[in-house]
């Protein structure tokens, strides 16, 4: 095997006046022809920046390569003038990104966007380029390429947009594809399809791929070699199986140990308690959103929830899982009275929200609290953590005013933050610290019920593991009832004794975690579980033989096309 891309001793610095910071610290990597290299690390580890440096696309003038070089096929490409890089970018190294929506032109047909690259880089005529574009769409798994080539980005689902991005990157027949978190924004079943597509492309085209991801499960499934990055340097690299089985560097060990797909000895699996007095009762709940319909037209609406019934007992931890658009967040908001209900009933500890709204809301506000997905957005950025907590304590009035400062200290202790965080603002804190502060704010209510909506989705894996551990401790120590909404089944399995699976606004399965993960009864649940990328390379992605999942997956996506 020959190295198609070689990064030697690369160093990138940020310089602004006298200030100089090392962002990429003497990284050396090689990418062999036809190889998939997984670049793993948490946010801020420099993995995306490294790839941008390779492409000559450093995001600011204050960043510069200060040492080392990049070789493509034996030729040095670092430091080439912009004009020469134009011939390399796209033509020889293609790139795809995490969020296909913002990288596709919304007013240009998908086929034209692919053809544009073909005409510019390969000099094809209009008709030939169009024909080639249709063929590329077929290769990346579009079902009806001639028709779909004439459609716009907004008419496709997230998975199909990512396929379109890949088609655009492939248009110039590059030798190398850099995929920057290509599946992070996608649902698990769609993620499995995209990963399979990348593996297929490597096989059929001999493409070399650098796959940037934070999920070790993803690299375990599709990569040949893994490089683990932290704080701008590669701390360990090696063949996938060897590295996963015997990680040397302590950080790589921690990263592997915190992967949620690993079986947990202490996984929660105790039998369900009987719901003698359910805390939350939901009957036949229906929520619709208005969807268009003008002043004179008939009002139309889409159903986010259709006939959902759920009982949650005191002290239970219930995980609600499902892909985006399945209605799980709507359910959470409706149950806390934050979302108008179209039909059905919601009762909290005997008080029926839909009948006695004011009284039930008053109780919900004092006994239930919510933890949100985006830890930064969920906190008021103009207030310190101490002010945020103090405000909740004052409004709730459960703690006498003179005890408030002490209580703030206790709350910070409970979520594992140093007490001096009371004086800090969200912007000076990391995502994990903000999420802890968000949990402290929920605990300030002294709630019986906490609803956590995707509250670890935006966090790095090692931080996710910490937050999950924190929730477990809180549930055990304080007898909280927890409704934990997530699209990540592996995390739910770690935390919740009961799982509720939602699809298209309905509950399709509901039962004990251990039972559902071992013997899923509904095919959708089975598909979800099979699509979790396992960290064990010998447990392939579900539906590898294009079985039931990818069929249903494609059909679901077909709905939007």
């Amino acid at each position: 095997m020959t190295a198609v891309l070689r990064i030697e001793d690369l160093e990138v610095r940020f310089r602004d006046g006298d200030e100089s910071r090392l962002l990429i610290d003497r990284v050396s990597l090689e990418l062999q022809r036809g190889e998939i290299l997984g670049l793993v690390g948490e946010s801020g580890s420099g993995k995306s920046l490294l790839c941008r440096a390779v492409m000559g696309l450093l995001p600011s003038r204050k960043l510069a390569i200060t040492r080392g070089r990049v070789e493509l096929d034996g030729e040095t490409i670092s430091g080439l003038p912009e004009a020469a890089m134009l011939g390399i970018r796209g033509r020889r190294i293609g790139m795809i990104f995490q969020n296909p929506t913002s990288h596709l032109d919304p007013v240009m047909r998908i086929g034209d966007q692919i053809a544009e690259g073909l005409r510019r880089h390969r000099g094809l005529g209009r008709a030939a380029a169009q024909a080639e574009a249709v063929d590329l769409l077929r290769q990346v798994g579009f079902t009806d390429p001639p028709r779909q080539a004439r459609m716009y980005a907004h008419e496709f689902s997230g998975g199909m947009r990512q396929r379109a991005m890949i088609a655009i990157a492939l248009a110039c027949d590059p030798e190398i594809l850099i995929a920057d978190e290509p599946t992070t924004a996608l649902d698990v079943t769609i993620q499995a399809q995209i990963l399979r597509l990348l593996a297929d492309l490597r096989r059929t085209r001999g493409l070399s791929i650098i796959l940037i991801t934070h999920d070790l499960g993803v690299v375990a499934q599709v990569c040949d070699r893994i490089a683990v990055m932290r704080n701008g340097s590669v701390v360990e690299q090696g063949e996938k199986r060897a590295l996963l089985a015997h990680p040397q560097h302590p950080y790589a060990q921690a990263l592997i140990a915190s992967h949620p797909s690993l079986p947990q000895e202490d996984a929660v699996g105790e039998p369900l308690r009987p719901h003698e007095a359910p805390l939350v009762e939901i009957d036949d709940l229906e929520v619709s959103f208005p969807a268009g319909g003008g002043l004179f037209g008939r009002k139309r609406s889409t159903k986010a929830l259709a006939g959902v019934s759920l009982r949650v007992g005191r002290g239970e931890t219930v995980g609600i899982v499902g892909e985006s658009g399945s209605g799980k967040s709507t359910l959470a908001r409706a149950l806390l009275g934050l979302q108008p209900v179209t039909a059905g009933h919601i009762a909290f500890d005997g008080a029926v929200l839909t009948l006695e709204r004011a009284r039930t809301l008053a109780r919900l506000r004092r006994e239930a609290a919510m933890v949100f997905q985006d830890p930064f957005n969920a906190l008021n950025s103009r207030m310190t953590i101490g002010e945020t907590l103090a405000e909740v304590l004052r409004v709730q009035g459960k703690v006498p005013a003179e005890r408030i400062p002490t209580r703030i200290g206790e709350l910070l202790d409970m979520v594992g933050l140093e007490r001096d965080f009371a004086a800090r603002r969200p912007r000076s804190m990391s995502g994990g610290q903000c999420q802890r502060a968000g949990i402290a704010r929920a605990l300030a209510v002294d709630p019986t019920l906490i609803v956590a909506d995707e509250c670890v989705a935006a966090l790095d894996v090692t931080i996710q593991a910490q937050i999950v551990a924190l929730f477990r401790r809180l549930v055990q120590d304080h007898g909280l009832t927890l409704i934990f909404i997530a699209h990540d089944l592996a995390i739910v399995r770690r935390l919740c004794e009961r799982v509720v699976v939602m699809q298209h606004g309905r509950i399709v399965e509901d039962g004990a975690s251990a039972e559902i993960f071992a013997r899923p009864a509904h095919p959708y649940t089975a598909a979800l579980i099979a699509a979790i990328p396992s960290i064990d390379p010998d447990r392939p992605l579900g539906g590898g033989e294009a079985g039931a999942i990818s069929e249903t997956g494609l059909q679901q996506e077909g709905l939007t096309t």
Partner: protein
């Protein structure tokens, strides 16, 4: 704040502080009475006795520029404060409550915006009678619309964000959510706008005075001075250039501070 690391902010603040100092100390530092006419000293070019020269009535231009700072700062500040307060209150209400409150307020804004800004200003001043007081009232009646629209748009975005939903789920009252959580976050954009608006108001005030509806002669105001010197621009350039320069410097100070505020408050993030 690290002004030292933001030279532009430092420069802008220095300009504004300089204007304020000149305005406050006008009686002390002005070498002559700004409205005293000396018939023997008409249209004198800049000299040691009259650093900025004299105008066609023999008044000292330097003294008039110094005294003018009082009036012009007042125009820039008061002409912005009232629209800002009114617009912020109305925009917050419209954005937060939505529904018919929003619909009614927005239609009122549409009506005001349907007329050209200056035409509306002129008709209000014409009704109230010329003078600085009328100018401020007209500004308050017309100028609030931009602030209202700005704040409303911010509130509309902010109220769907998680921290606002969180505030609701924690049992906070509407007043608390509106004023303690949404408004402080919405203000950043309009604070920056205040600075650039101050520039426009300053020029607007000069324009209104120029056509004789604002500050009345012989009071020294930069806009009036530019207008009066206009006829002599080819023969006695100093009459218009120095007050014009003063307007430019003050405007420059406001916009530098506005820019730096935008960076500091993260408006462009």
């Amino acid at each position: 704040m690290q002004i030292g690391r933001r030279p532009m902010l430092g420069f802008g603040l220095a300009l504004l502080a300089g204007a304020l100092l000149v305005a406050l100390a006008a009686p002390l530092i002005a070498p002559f009475d700004p409205i005293f006419q000396d018939g023997t000293m008409r249209l004198q070019p800049p000299s040691l006795a009259h650093l900025f020269g004299t105008d066609n009535f023999g008044r000292d231009v330097l003294s008039r520029v110094i005294w003018g700072a009082r009036i012009d700062l007042q125009i820039a500040v008061l002409g912005v404060v009232f629209p800002f307060l009114i617009g912020t209150a109305i925009g917050t209400l419209a954005g937060f409550f939505g529904g018919w409150v929003d619909a009614v307020l927005m239609r009122i804004i549409d009506v005001i915006l349907a007329f050209p800004f200056l035409v509306l200003m002129l008709s209000i001043i014409a009704i109230l009678g010329p003078g600085l007081k009328s100018f401020f009232i007209a500004m308050a009646l017309v100028g609030w619309v931009s602030y209202a629209r700005l704040i409303r748009a911010q509130i509309l975005v902010l109220k769907t964000q998680d921290f606002a939903v969180a505030a609701e789920s924690l049992g906070f009252s509407r007043m608390r959510i509106m004023f303690r959580h949404l408004l402080p976050n919405a203000l950043a954009g309009s604070l920056v706008f205040v600075m650039s608006d101050a520039v426009l108001v300053l020029l607007g005030g000069a324009a209104i005075s120029y056509i004789g509806l604002g500050v009345q002669p012989p009071v020294a105001e930069w806009g009036v001075m530019v207008a009066e010197g206009q006829a002599f621009v080819t023969t006695a350039w100093w009459i218009t250039v120095f007050p014009g320069l003063a307007i430019v410097l003050l405007a420059f100070g406001f916009s530098l501070v506005g820019d730096a505020l935008g960076d500091l408050l993260g408006v462009r993030e």
